[in-house]
């Protein structure tokens, strides 16, 4: 038992390596927040393109659906490897694009951001779509009857309602995204997983990885609770006779 605790929960060892692991987790955080924001925006753009009306825009809708299906079907790790190994080899690209080192971050960071945004943008587009489709048809008709064009109606009437309904599932996707940033360790980004697993192979002690896992929990557990709270609030809005949450 003592050996088990020493292998996974050596507090002294964790204290010794705390700063290193935290540095790695800071990279993880930056990667997750930046990719998360970009995926939220990209997903919204995709969902909007998918809803464009009219026959003339059929090709746009078709391409958007194809994109969403394809990138939800490819493992993120493969995409990361494809991008990190492929883009630097594209000689026709300027070097600042082939080997991006913007804002003092290594190219592996940016390749990770790109891969995660591509994949999670597709996931989030589907979440937005569910929200858009849950807004009654009469809302679009009312907006159009007042003279708004499709874009104005989407922006002012449909999307504000749709987004409100899907904040919880979007947050769920963000939690999953945060955990999936660990995959970028495969292309040698010094995020928390790589840092901790290097320590593990040097010292044969896994407590640094445990520490990394705990850091994840510090972020993901409150998010999970927040998701629950948002869901129950959304449900109580539509429960007749129940006390309104705001009134409590």
């Amino acid at each position: 038992m003592e050996e088990f605790l020493k292998q996974f929960f050596d507090v002294g060892f964790m204290v010794d390596h705390f700063d290193e692991v935290l540095d790695g987790f800071w990279i993880t955080t930056q990667l997750a927040v930046l990719s998360g924001i970009l995926a939220l925006i990209w997903g919204l753009i995709l969902a909007t393109l998918r809803q464009l009306p009219g026959k003339a825009l059929m090709p746009v809708r078709f391409l958007t659906i194809a994109y969403i299906d394809v990138f939800r079907g490819i493992p993120l790790l493969m995409l990361i490897l494809l991008i990190a190994g492929g883009i630097p080899a594209l000689e026709f690209l300027p070097e600042w694009l082939r080997l991006p080192e913007w804002f003092g971050k290594p190219d592996s960071f940016w390749f990770g951001v790109l891969a995660i945004t591509i994949t999670y943008g597709a996931y989030m587009a589907e979440v937005y779509r569910a929200g858009i489709e849950s807004v009654p048809q009469g809302q679009m008709e009312a907006a159009r009857s007042l003279g708004m064009n499709h874009g104005q109606a989407m922006r002012n009437v449909i999307l504000p309602q749709a987004v409100r309904k899907v904040i919880a599932p979007l947050l769920n996707d963000f939690v999953a995204l945060t955990k999936d940033t660990t995959l970028v360790s495969f292309i040698a980004l010094n995020e928390v997983t790589l840092v901790a697993s290097d320590i593990q192979s040097e010292t044969f002690n896994s407590s640094a990885l445990t520490l990394g896992a705990i850091m994840f929990l510090v972020v993901t557990l409150p998010l999970a609770r927040l998701v629950d709270k948002l869901i129950s609030r959304e449900q109580s809005r539509f429960t007749r006779g129940a006390p309104r949450v705001e009134a409590l």
Binding site: G138, E141, A142, A143, S145, L146, G147, M148, V157
Partner: protein, 260 residues
Amino acid sequence: MDGPSDGSGVILSLRGVCKRFGDLEVLRGVDLEVKRGEVVCVLGPSGSGKSTLLRCVNLLEPPEEGDIHLEERSICKGPGSGTGEQSWELDFVRQRVGIVFQQFNLFPHKTALENVTMAQEKVLGRPKAEARSKGAQLLERVGLADKLGEYPERLSGGQQQRVAIARALAMDPHVMLFDEVTSALDPELVKEVLDVMRELAEEGMTMIVVTHEIGFARDVADRVVFMDGGVIVEEGPPAQVLENPREERTKQFLGLVLEH
């Protein structure tokens, strides 16, 4: 409001309007003329095409055949002239025709006042202050001066429907369409909505009212139109159509409606 554009004062005219949903022919050649300031009530059994007729007029459901003229301008480019919305005079129509729906369709994430100001600002480009003062004025006119900041879910059905009327009026429409606006209301709330419409009619608004409220049609309408099976069966002054209908189908329908 613009002056009448010709001697007859016809603001809206429909000629041979047809509309299909798949195999279902909902409108099978409707002719109708509406004069400026006239109140036309459209009666008929459900499925007779009344609502579709209104939705054709403001192009929510563009007709497949026939022609509609609004203020002497054709708003359809006719069948086969193209696909998609570009072949319709959408902006021209929607700046002149307001519609109120059976299900209110208020924007639930906006207050009563914001519901009335949104399109004023986004579509007409009115400054915020002007839109707000116009909105407040209209809400006061429909008896909701104390509800400006309320969200729709906190309003009764009758109040919501009055907000919806104010929202349509805020765009300064030349014609107002009412699509069974009291059908989703509890009986005790019907009157407050009809009263607003009655006032509007007295002020000279051109109105096409699809309704089951025979009393309203009798009191307010200049003309009553009876529809069945996608065509206009009979039309005329309320006293004639409602008291002495010529057509058998009209008699039957009125018999059923007035029975209870």
